[in-house]
Symmetry: C2
Subunit: 150 residues, 2 copies
DNA sequence: AAAATTTGAATTGTACACAATTTAATTTTG
DNA sequence: CAAAATTAAATTGTGTACAATTCAAATTTT
């Protein structure tokens, strides 16, 4: 009574999804020790990147940028607030919205973070051009799969 | 008193890491409704892929394949067991090891899962060749960043 | 304007991830 | 061989993700 072997298209190593999932976690793992001196987790670092770019966004706007909902962002932002990096306050124009503002410490942290991307690029042993190409292809994947598409 | 703008290399859209992180979550999001009828989460599906390929692995071996530790796998496997898809038992040769075996139901589920990769490939609107190329480049990233490297 | 709907955050509950510790079972070593 | 070191899972604790619900504040309808 022989059991059929797994068809090729179900092999783990054949999966595009797994290469993506594994690579994403591997990259996060490399960031961890780099971010530890700044007292940030990787998702917190992403939120700070957005705020350094444009301060005073609402939770909703931050969520659109990072593709995260309030269930993820609210506790994350509370931790950033507890760490003294941001302030959270209701907008006067619309009390439903919560505006996130960098504190002086939050803004100052940008200088320390400034070294990180180069650090990462070096660890990847990849040309800048190839990295940009791969990045843009991944953006295309996200765009293609985003719910608005199709 | 003008504040310096964020340098280009700190812009969110410039980050390779974010494109990876966003794409990975987008892909998982597409799997969710496909896996729901099978009663699997995405990481559970990955564990099943490994077991369909080679049954009777230990938690450690499964962890090596998926790059996950027992802190993640133990509860995940308990849920698969609760769903009646796998059995967990200590090895007699070495009582420290826990062997994971597919149940009949677990093996049978492979037939339903068989349609999923093609479903996914179609959603990506990408040639098979391009998907494989991207997949292999991502594997290279993971390999490059794995702790054994350097 | 009052009622119904919509919207933005927060909350609740489930399921990962992963560091750090614990426990039990083997191996290695003195 | 017995103590020490190592190993495999499990456990504990923190921090995401995300669906679903709740709540309060706008907005739209009637």
């Amino acid at each position: 009574m022989k059991r059929k072997p797994t068809p090729d298209h179900l092999l783990l190593d054949a999966q595009f999804c797994f290469s993506l999932y594994a690579a994403s976690r591997a990259v996060t793992g490399v960031y961890r020790p780099l971010l530890e001196p700044l007292g940030l987790t990787y998702p917190q670092y992403l939120a700070m990147l957005v705020l350094w770019e444009k301060d005073g966004l609402t939770v909703r706007e931050l969520g659109q940028r990072l593709q995260l909902d309030s269930g993820t962002l609210t506790p994350l932002l509370k931790r950033l607030q507890a760490a003294g990096l941001v302030d959270r306050r209701r907008r006067v124009e619309d009390e439903r919205e919560v505006e996130i503002r960098l504190t002086d410490a939050g803004l100052a942290l940008r200088e320390q973070a400034s070294e990180i991307p180069a650090c990462m690029a070096q660890r990847l042993h990849m040309s800048l051009g190839h990295m940009q190409k791969l990045r843009d292809e991944l953006k295309q994947v996200t765009l293609q799969l985003s719910p608005t598409e199709d």
